[in-house]
Point group: D2
Chain length 350, copies 4
C-alpha cells in the first residue's frame, strides 16, 4: 500500500486527540507532523501519556507553520477553532497541499449565512467555493477529487444522515421538522471552563442554545438540498453526562402513508454502499454506546399511529463519526484508499 504523509494542526483538543488515536493504527497514513503552539517542543506522549509506546507517541510537536507543514505532508487535518482555520487552510492550499478542515469555516456555502451565525466575515470566499461538504455517504465522488473538504459538524452528521434519504425520496414533509439532539460532553471541547467541570456536568442534564445553535444552518443547508426546497427546522441541543455520543430524535411528518418497514428499505437502499450506516430492525432503538469509538451511524424508526408522526432516532460518536473519524474517511477517499481503511473496528463495549 502506498503511504501518505499527513499532518494534524492543533493536536491538543479532543478532535486532535482522536485524530492521533485513529491515525496511529492507520495502515496508509503516516503522521508527518503534529502542531500546537502551546506544546511545541514536546513529544506527543508527553502531553498524551496514554500514547507512550505507540507509533505516534514519539512524534515531536512543532509550532503550526502552514508552509512547513505543507512541505512535509500531502494532506493536512485542521483541528483548530473556526475563524482561525480559514486562513491556515488557504495558506496550505496555496502550497498545493490538500486540507480536511474540521472547523465550521467551510461548511456553509453562503458566506452571508456564515457571518450571520458565526459573527465574523468570511475572509476566504474563493476557497469556500471550492470546498466540498465531507459527508462520504452523499458526496463521495466530489470528496475524492477535492483539495479542500469541510468536515461536517457533529450534530449535523447525525441529523443529515437521519433525514436525507426520506426527504430525497419524498415521503418526509420538509415542514415542521423538529430535531431534539443530545450530546456527550466531549463535544464541548477540552478548554478549561467552569461549566464543563466534572462536578457541573455529572448526574445532571440540561438543554442549551435552544433556537440559536450554530449547527442549525448547516443542517438546514444539506437537508434542503435533499428535499429540493428551503427548510426551516427546530434544532435543540442538550448535554448528556457521558464522554462521547450524540443521539438525535427527529420528529417528522409524512407526506403520505408508508409502512415503517418500507421506510427502512428506502434507507437500506440509499446507504447500501456505506460500511457504517446501520438500519435497526423493528423493535430495536439505537444507543450511543453501540457506536462508541466508531464511524457507525445507527438509525431507528418508529411511527406513532396515534399522531401520524415518524420518529427517527440517530446515534453517532461525536468525536469519531462526528469529527475525526469522518475526517480520516474523507482523507481515505482523497488518497484513493478504501473508504473504511483504518476505520472498521467494532465499538468498545461496555
Amino acid at each position: 500500500m502506498h503511504k501518505t504523509n499527513v499532518a494534524v494542526v492543533g493536536v491538543t483538543g479532543y478532535t486532535g486527540m482522536e485524530l492521533v488515536r485513529i491515525l496511529n493504527s492507520h495502515p496508509g497514513f503516516e503522521l508527518g507532523a503534529v502542531t500546537s503552539r502551546s506544546e511545541a517542543g514536546k513529544a506527543l506522549h508527553e502531553i498524551f501519556p496514554f500514547m507512550q509506546g505507540t507509533r505516534a507517541g514519539s512524534v515531536a510537536i512543532t509550532v503550526p507553520d502552514p508552509e512547513l507543514v505543507a512541505g512535509i505532508c500531502s494532506l493536512v487535518f485542521l483541528a483548530v477553532p473556526h475563524g482561525a482555520a480559514m486562513d491556515i487552510a488557504a495558506a496550505i492550499l496555496e502550497q498545493k497541499t490538500r486540507v480536511v478542515d474540521l472547523s465550521a469555516d467551510f461548511r456553509l456555502r453562503d458566506p452571508g449565512v456564515y457571518s450571520r451565525w458565526y459573527g465574523i466575515e468570511h475572509r476566504q470566499q474563493k476557497r469556500l467555493q471550492q470546498a466540498v461538504y465531507g459527508l462520504p455517504e452523499i458526496y463521495r465522488e466530489q470528496i475524492a477529487g477535492a483539495s479542500l473538504v469541510a468536515n461536517p459538524g457533529c450534530y449535523p452528521s447525525s441529523v443529515i444522515l437521519a433525514l436525507y434519504p426520506g426527504l430525497k425520496q419524498g415521503f418526509l414533509k420538509a415542514q415542521d421538522i423538529i430535531v431534539d439532539s443530545k450530546s456527550g460532553t466531549s463535544g464541548a471541547g477540552r478548554v478549561a471552563k467552569t461549566g464543563t467541570l466534572y462536578c457541573e456536568v455529572t448526574d445532571s442534564f440540561k438543554a442549551y442554545s435552544l433556537g440559536k445553535h450554530r449547527h442549525t444552518p448547516e443542517i438546514e443547508q444539506e437537508v434542503a438540498l435533499a428535499a429540493g426546497t428551503d427548510i426551516r427546522l427546530t434544532f435543540s441541543p442538550h448535554l448528556v453526562p457521558m464522554n462521547r455520543g450524540i443521539l438525535s430524535t427527529c420528529y417528522v411528518n409524512l407526506r403520505y402513508s408508508i409502512k415503517t418497514e418500507q421506510i427502512r428499505d428506502v434507507y437500506r437502499d440509499f446507504y447500501k454502499d456505506s460500511p457504517w450506516v446501520r438500519i435497526m430492525p423493528e423493535g430495536v432503538l439505537p444507543e450511543t454506546r453501540w457506536v462508541r469509538g466508531t464511524m457507525y451511524c445507527d438509525l431507528g424508526f418508529v411511527q406513532d399511529p396515534r399522531t401520524d408522526r415518524l420518529m427517527i432516532v440517530s446515534c453517532i460518536d461525536n468525536l469519531c463519526r462526528g469529527a475525526s473519524g469522518q475526517a480520516v474517511a474523507n482523507a481515505n477517499l482523497m488518497a484513493d484508499y478504501e473508504l473504511d481503511l483504518g476505520l472498521c473496528t467494532p465499538p468498545l463495549m461496555p
Copy 2:
C-alpha cells in the same frame, strides 16, 4: 403541631426509600409502619444502612397487612406496583384510612383507557371515581378533602406543570404538541435487571418506548382538561446516565403571537401560590441538578422566531416531585398541614 401516624406499604424500592428519607425529617408525620413482604422482621436500617442512627432507621418492617396497617395509621402511602395497588388501596379505604397511591392504578379516570394501556381490567372502579389526581398546584382543594389520592407519574408531573397554564390561558395550540423527555435511571426502579446494570447505562444514552409509554394517556388526560379539548400528543422518553431528574423539552405552537416575557408572567401568576414552581428568567434554562432532592419544578421558555415555535423546558426530580415528595405534599394537604411542611430544603449541589 399535631402528629399524624402514617405507613409506607412497599418500602424496598426507590420511591419507598425516598418516602422514608422525607418522612424521617418531617415534623408532622410519624412513621407508624413500613411493610415489605421480603424483608419483614428486619429493622429499616438493616436493609437501608444509610438510615442507621436516624429516627426512622429503627422502625421494624412488617408484612403488608392492609387491616393491620389501617388500624395503626390514619394515612397510608402505597409504593407497590400498579395492578397490586388497587386492591390494597380498597382494603385500606374500607377501614376509613386514607390513601396516597404512588402507582398508576387510580390516575386514569377512564377505566377503559387504563385497561387498554396497562393490559389489565380495573377491579376497583368505584374507588377510581373517588380518586383525586394529586398534583397540588391544580387540585389543591380536592386533595385536601380526598380519601384516595392518585399520585401523578414522574413524566406527567414534569409535562403537565409545563403545559397547563398555557393551554388554560389559550395561547398554546392543543394540536401537534411534542414532548421529548429524558429521565434519570432511578425511574426504572430498583428491581435487578440486566438493562439497568451500571455498565449498561453509564456513558450511554437511549430512547425507549417511543410512541407507547404508559404515561402518555395520563399526560393527555390532564392537559386536555386544561385546554378544554381532546389532545393527542407525541411523548418520547429517553434514559439518562444519572440518578435522579427528569427534563422534558416541550415543543408547542402558539395560537397567537405573544412575547416570551408575557408567557412567563402568565405562568408566574398561575403558580403564584406554589412554593415550588420556579420560572427561569430570560437567558436561563433549567438543569436537573438544580432540583435534585427537592419539590421544585423549574420552567424555562424560549421562542424560536425562525420557526414560530415555543419550547418549554421543565425540570423535576423524578423521585421527589415525581413521586414520593409529591405524595408527602398531598398528605400534607390531607392532614391539614402547610403544603410544603418538611419539603423546603434546597437542592444538593453538586
Copy 3:
C-alpha cells in the same frame, strides 16, 4: 431561639455553595452577608440559579471587606484559599467577630510545618496560637469558647475520626500506618482546569500527590496527640469519578490481640456523644453514598487473620463533614446551639 448573624466570605466555590445550602435551612443562623470579589452586585440566585426562591437566594453578594462584614455579623465563615485566609481572619478577629476558617491556614500548630508544606510563611502566628482545631468529637469544649476555629481538611476529617480512639486507647500501633484515601471530584474545587473537566475525570481513576499531599502533616499532628507519640504515616490520595465523598482505607497493626467487636465497642463508647459517627456492624462496610450530603462519618472494621492487620474503612461527605457542614457544627458550638442544629437530615439516596 436566638438568631445569629453570620457571613460567608468567598461564596463561589463548592464549600461556599455548600455553606449557603446548609445555612439556608438553619433555624439559628441568618445569612447577613455573602461576599465574592468577582460576583459582587448580584443576588445569590443569579450565580446559583438553584437557590432561586429560597430564603438565601435573594441575599446580595458584596465585595469582601473584613471590617464591614465584621460589623454586620458576629461569626464569619472563611471559604477563601489558604494564604489569603490568614490576614482576612486576623482583620475580622480584630473587630471581635469570631471566625471559622475553612482554609488550611490555622490547622497546623507549628508554623514551621506550615511553611514547609505550603511554601509560604505564616504571617499571623499570634492568631495561630489561639486557633482551635475544629473536630467537634475531639475538641468540643475548646471550640465552644474559641474565637478562631481552624476547620479540618476533608481527608483529615475522615482519617482522624478513624484512627483517634484506637490510638488513644492504645491497641493500635503508631508505626507503619498506611492510609489509602479516595475522594470525589468536588474536592478539587470549582476553578476551571483541564484536569478536572468532565471528560478527563469520568470513567477513570487515578492516584495523585503520592507521598506529598498537604493533608499529611495535619493528619499526623492530630493522631500523634491521640497516640502520645510522634507519627509518620503514608497517606495516598486518589480521585474518584463522583461528586462527593471520601473513603479512607486505613491499614493498621495491633499492639495486642483484640476482638473486632471489642474494637467496635471502644469506638462506640468514644463517640457516644456524637450524633454522627456510626459504627457499622459486623459484615457491613460503609459506602460514600450512605453519607451523601450529611455529617455522618461511617466506620467499618475488618481484621485479616492471615496478616494480623486491622483495616478501618471511613466514609464521609467531603463537602459537608469534610468542610462546610463541619464548619456549621463548629459555629453551632460557638453560638451555643445544639451541636447538630440544622445538620440532621438523612443522606440523599440514590
Copy 4:
C-alpha cells in the same frame, strides 16, 4: 497468514463480549463457534446489536456442546463461571483441542487452596497439573506449548506485573506487602443483581470482600515464585463507578536503599520484550483511562522518603488485559502468531 478456528464458550457476559470485540478484528483467528445455553439459535448481533454489520455479528449462537465445538475449532476460549469451566475444559482437551480458560478453575496450582477459597472440590486435578498460568510476560515459552492455559484474574494481572520484577530482583521485601485495588464495575459481571444497578453504583465508592477476596491466593502464589519464599499479603478490593479499569496501589518496603530511577530501570529491563508494560517516567502516575480497551499495564513508582516505603501504582483494563485480551494474547502464542497480533490499538480517549 494461516487462519485458526476458535470458539467462545459462554458469550453473553462481559468477557465473552470482549472476546467477540477483539476476535472480530483479529487477522489470524476465525470465530468458528460461539455458544450460550440461553441465547442459542440467535445470531450474535441479535443479542449484541452493536455487532450488527460486523464480521462476527452474523455468527450463529449454538448450545455449548464441548465435543461439537472441539470438532470445529482448534482452540476454545472458556468464558463460563468457575466450577463449571473445569469439566468443559476437560471434555474439550479430550478431543485434542486446546483451551484458554478465563475462569479461576486452573489458576491455583494447589487443589487444596482452590477448594479452601472457592468452596468446591477440584474435579480435574490431572488437567490442573498441565495448566500453564497465562501471564505472557512471565510464562511466554510455557504458554506457547500449552494445551491448557489458565487465564489470570483481573486483579492478579495488575498486581503480579507490579510486584514480580522487584521481588525477583530482590530489593522488595516479601513481608508486609499491602495492595489496595480499585476496579471498574464490569468486573462484577453482567448478571442482574440489585447491588450493581446503575443507581446503586454511580456517584459512590466502597470497599468489599476485605481480607477474603478469592484473588488473594492467586496473587500470593505468583509473587511467592518471584520472591522464592512464601508470601502473605493484604489485598483490599474496592468498587469504582466506571466501566473498565483496575488501579492497584501497592505498598512495599525495600530490603535496601535504591533510587527510584534504578527501580524503573529494573522494570524496563524485565519487561523489555513486552509490547505492553509501560514504565511511567518520574512525576507521572498512571490513570485507568490511559489503558482503556488495551493490553497496556502502566506502572508508576513513588518512594516516600518520610516513611521509607515504595508505592507502585499499576493500571490495566480489567476486561482486556485482565481477561479477554490476555486470553487472545495467550492464544496468539499458542497459535504461533506474534504476541500482540490484533492487540495493538491505542486506548479510547476520552
